[in-house]
Symmetry: C2
Subunit: 198 residues, 2 copies
């Protein structure tokens, strides 16, 4: 039943960026659709159009790009409780997605489709600000990722991952961490071996 759904986390997300009244909160919540996803199911498949912005209430997903040329996946981000995910370009332009988004655990999600989001912006323009500030935050994170990719060795990137996302390494298989760091699973194994010896 809808009344059982807990919206506190998503409202906390909004209120982290803007002040909203109870009325505005109610309207916002009324636009959300609840959805579950089992481990290994896809939230989005490449070449489909991304129809929703999705908030993660519970669980963990990976956003990744498949390089068919070399038969390799490259993970852009792991996304967990409290964050939004989508293929931004596909959602905004209604073009086929270049990303896959796949559940790595059983997930509970809240979704907002394009027309609902536009209705939200038209009804309460302050939500544009909220959306901008989220993009601002993501921009900063991506920039930091780019710097790290340019400047760190495999070992340093792994240690940085452990400290930046504590606890996540227990939820995620090792070869997927390698796909996030941009190294081979074999090499990550060797890095860990070396760290264990120290």
């Amino acid at each position: 039943m809808k009344s059982e759904i807990d919206h506190s986390l998503v409202l906390k997300n909004v209120r982290n960026y803007i002040n909203i009244t109870d009325e505005e909160a109610d309207f916002f919540v009324s636009l959300l659709t609840y959805r579950r996803l089992k481990k290994k199911q896809f939230l989005l498949q490449a070449y489909d159009v991304c129809k929703y912005e999705t908030f993660i209430v519970k669980g963990c997903l990976k956003e990744y790009f498949t390089d068919y040329e070399n038969d390799k996946d490259h993970i852009i981000r792991f996304v967990t409780e409290g964050t939004w995910t989508s293929d931004v370009e596909s959602f905004a332009k209604e073009t086929p997605s270049s990303l896959n988004i796949e559940a790595m655990e059983d997930c509970e999600l809240l979704q907002l489709d394009y027309s609902s989001l536009e209705l939200l912006f038209q009804t309460y323009p302050k939500f544009e600000r909220w959306c901008r500030l989220i993009f601002e935050k993501n921009y900063i994170e991506f920039q930091s990722r780019i710097i790290k990719n340019l400047s760190l060795s495999g070992k340093e990137k792994y240690l940085d991952f452990l400290s930046e996302y504590p606890g996540l390494s227990n939820r995620i298989p090792q070869h997927q961490i390698a796909a996030y760091l941009g190294i081979t699973p074999e090499f990550l194994s060797k890095i860990r071996q070396q760290l264990a010896r120290e």
Copy 2:
């Protein structure tokens, strides 16, 4: 004299994302400050607080991060005519910048300080949307950069750079392109040698 300044490019930038009236345009333009920068001058130095969002009317700058540990610069982006630049995090949070932004050519710029930007948002909230859409675009570009860093070899990254930013390689010294690609200048030289033989 202020009347000589050409605002057509910056207005084109705004109107690329939102519709604005002449009145709104006039107000927006009244908030901008014109500034010139000579080649090799800094728009922003690391550890200073970034006070402005800066629009580039003419010229080219580099946003870069200095790794003092290894005495190396890592270039995040080259920014040219028609784009905005700042250290987003420093500007938003008024914290010391981690980036340098430096002119690679003589530049003509238009700047917007924090309070002017907030005044703009308060007066005409639709500018929040414009700002969001710019971040959306930058997010997409950064994502694409991350994918390329994860999946391409040095040679492939160089060829991609040439096709993504045609004409830019003539404006920028080669070792700076190397700093953007995340390879050494010597290795870029060898890549070019190899490409020339083909």
